[in-house]
């Protein structure tokens, strides 16, 4: 299609979504951008807050805890996204076949994501418990020394990563699975005839054809990894020390615990910029649009306006 469409059409398609996002997201975000120049505590209405110019940003530069949590965040996001992509896509490839009970099995692998984060946090916290926790009990049964799951900085970081991977691999999994199921079957048949082995099929046909979905999935997961909050909050509350204090947690605490909304807003604006830079650096604007524009179908689009 794509030729000869009314020039208003795309705007009509976009209007409802854009309207909702403008009202319910952009508008508040506008507030937050403004707020980053204010000294604002949540007991005040925004009009009552004092304008402090760039002070919040200046303070951020000298905030060692912020710096620390900045690096923790980057490390965390990089590690979990990498693990989850590999596991999720692998799992999807594994389950992309027609066997009996497949729907049920797939649901099993989606389950972790469906548990409320707060409950996930509590369950894992229980499992990591130094004495009654599952892991140490198993280690104990095996005659191994128990591990300081949450009470040592590096261990706690790893523990948090494990919990996150457990909960979020399903995200990658469902989307990859959906992508796999939408692949043109004929291309796969052709590749089978051309002699592609399982791995070659994955490497040369399935992954490249899934690429648009994979790029977006990784991107969304990365963005979300920068915002993970509840599970870490429950598991470690950022500790020990600052070892698991990711930015989202710090921002949330700054807003609600320290009651410094302006400062939190400034942090989140920096996070926003960081994410934007990372997004563009990792995926590049062209790859992103490529995920959107037709790599596959007859490459035509409606030109209007």
């Amino acid at each position: 299609m794509l030729a000869n469409a009314n020039r208003l059409t795309p705007y009509l398609f976009l209007a409802p979504a854009v309207a909702v996002m403008a009202v319910a997201l952009l508008y508040p975000i506008g507030y937050m951008i403004w707020a980053s120049f204010l000294d604002w505590n949540p007991s005040q209405r925004i009009g009552e807050a004092d304008f402090v110019g760039l002070r919040n940003y200046v303070d951020l530069l000298g905030d060692a805890a912020f710096r620390e949590s900045f690096w923790v965040t980057i490390r965390f996001a990089a590690i979990v996204v990498a693990f989850e992509m590999v596991l999720g896509v692998g799992l999807a490839l594994l389950l992309d076949r027609e066997l009996r009970g497949m729907t049920l099995l797939r649901t099993v692998f989606i389950l972790p994501m469906m548990i409320a984060p707060i409950v996930v946090g509590l369950v894992w916290r229980y499992m990591y418990h130094p004495t009654v926790g599952t892991f140490n009990r198993v280690l104990d049964d095996l005659g191994l020394p128990s591990a300081p799951w949450l009470s040592d900085g590096d261990w706690a970081f790893a523990s948090v990563v494990i919990a996150d991977v457990w909960q979020w691999t399903p995200f990658i999994f469902i989307l990859s699975l959906a992508a796999l199921q939408s692949l043109p079957r004929s291309a796969i048949e052709a590749a089978r005839i051309d002699g592609a082995t399982g791995w070659q099929m994955i490497r040369h046909i399935k992954i490249p054809l899934m690429m648009p979905v994979l790029i977006v999935t990784a991107l969304l997961r990365m963005i979300d990894a920068f915002k993970v909050l509840e599970v870490i909050l429950v598991l470690t509350n950022g500790g020990p020390g600052l070892s698991t204090e990711i930015l989202a947690l710090r921002i949330s605490r700054t807003a609600s615990e320290f009651r410094e909304l302006g400062y939190a807003a400034a942090m989140s604006n920096l996070l926003l910029i960081l994410l934007l830079v990372l997004t563009l650096a990792m995926f590049g604007y062209t790859r992103l649009t490529e995920a959107r524009t037709a790599r596959l179908a007859r490459a035509r689009e409606i030109e209007v306006g």
Binding site: P184, A190, D194, T197
Partner: protein
């Protein structure tokens, strides 16, 4: 290279039985053409050989190896799909070279091979394009090229030239004929094009509703069809059929009464009084000579050197093929001649040839 043997092969999709038990042997190095009406199971047969469909019953043998459970990649088969099945994310060159690259052929060989085939197919200038940027016929040629670069033991072609123009098709026919003669492969070829079927096939297999009606050389099938179906299917324009009844050595019906030639009359004797169908090829209706018959010319279809006259004999439609020079005005009834030596008789119930 293997000899391919279908041993009571069955295939059904859910409740739809597509192939009732099918026996068929394709000798080593043979070029077999599968023809049959749309939906009769030709593609299914190819896909079973390729390993893209599971057998519902029976077994397929490559020489003495049962391959029914083998993965396609282990069957050493190249295939041109009826629906092309190009890799949408690869450009043409990569589409064509995919199998070779998987087989880790040296790069130089791959390149030269791809170029050779692409040139043969007139698509060398498109090598950098993606399939989405090609016309229908160009895509079909890529699909063809993808199989032809390969060095497989069995080649399966599913209507590989249907979207090409006559000229290109003639050229491809020649290429295929050459390939058939020079390299020793087993090829199975599905086509609706009579010319392709007749010129390429060492053997033609005529299928209908999943069963084999007849197999043999083009001349066999044209000259000696075993039943009405094959007779009507092979030959273009198709054979004309007239309802008639045998009385002695004559066969007569609405608007005609023909004396049967001696051999046919003998065979027809047993069927005396039986209701038959008389099969007359359009090329056996001539303007001069033969057994006279009056036909009303309804339409004249110009086909270049020949024209096809659509005529009526009683209620039945008869087509006659004549040279275009011999203009016949339409709307008139005119006396034609039937070369009775070449007519065939078919049992009206069973369709079997008498």
């Amino acid at each position: 290279m293997p000899r391919i043997r279908f041993d009571r092969v069955e295939k059904s999709f859910g409740r739809t039985l597509v192939l009732p038990p099918l026996d068929l042997t394709l000798e080593d190095g043979e070029f077999t053409v599968l023809v049959g009406p749309s939906g009769c199971g030709k593609s299914t047969t190819l896909r079973l050989v390729a390993g893209l469909e599971t057998l519902s019953g029976g077994e397929i043998w490559f020489d003495d190896r049962a391959i029914g459970k083998l993965e396609p990649k282990d069957r050493d088969v190249a295939m041109v799909f009826q629906d092309y099945a190009l890799y949408p994310h690869m450009n043409i060159a990569r589409n064509m070279s995919f199998a070779l690259r998987l087989a880790r052929q040296p790069k130089a060989r791959i390149d030269s091979e791809v170029r050779r085939v692409a040139e043969m197919l007139n698509i060398a200038h498109l090598l950098e394009r993606k399939p989405a940027e090609l016309s229908g016929g160009q895509r079909q040629r890529v699909a063809m090229g993808r199989a032809m670069v390969r060095d497989a033991g069995v080649f399966l072609f599913d209507e590989p030239l249907s979207n090409l123009d006559a000229k290109l098709r003639a050229r491809m026919r020649t290429e295929l004929a050459e390939m058939r003669d020079t390299i020793d492969k087993n090829m199975i070829y599905v086509t609706h094009d009579q010319i392709e079927a007749m010129t390429l096939g060492d053997r033609i297999v005529v299928m209908n509703e999943g069963t084999i009606q007849q197999q043999g050389t083009a001349e066999d099938l044209f000259a000696n069809p075993v039943n009405r179906f094959v007779a009507g299917f092979i030959g273009s324009p198709a054979m004309n059929f007239l309802d008639g009844e045998i009385t002695g050595d004559r066969v007569a019906g609405d608007g005609f009464d023909l004396l049967l030639p001696a051999p046919l009359a003998r065979r027809a004797e047993a069927a005396a009084g039986r209701r038959v169908e008389v099969g007359i090829r359009p090329s056996h209706i001539v303007l001069d000579g033969g057994a006279p018959i009056d036909l009303r010319v309804v339409v004249s279809e110009y086909l270049g050197a020949q024209s096809v006259l659509v005529t009526r004999c009683g209620a039945a439609e008869m087509r006659a093929e004549i040279a275009s020079e011999d203009r016949i005005p339409t709307g008139e009834t005119r006396r034609f001649g039937i070369l009775t030596d070449d007519i065939m008789l078919f049992d009206r119930e069973t369709g079997a040839r008498l």
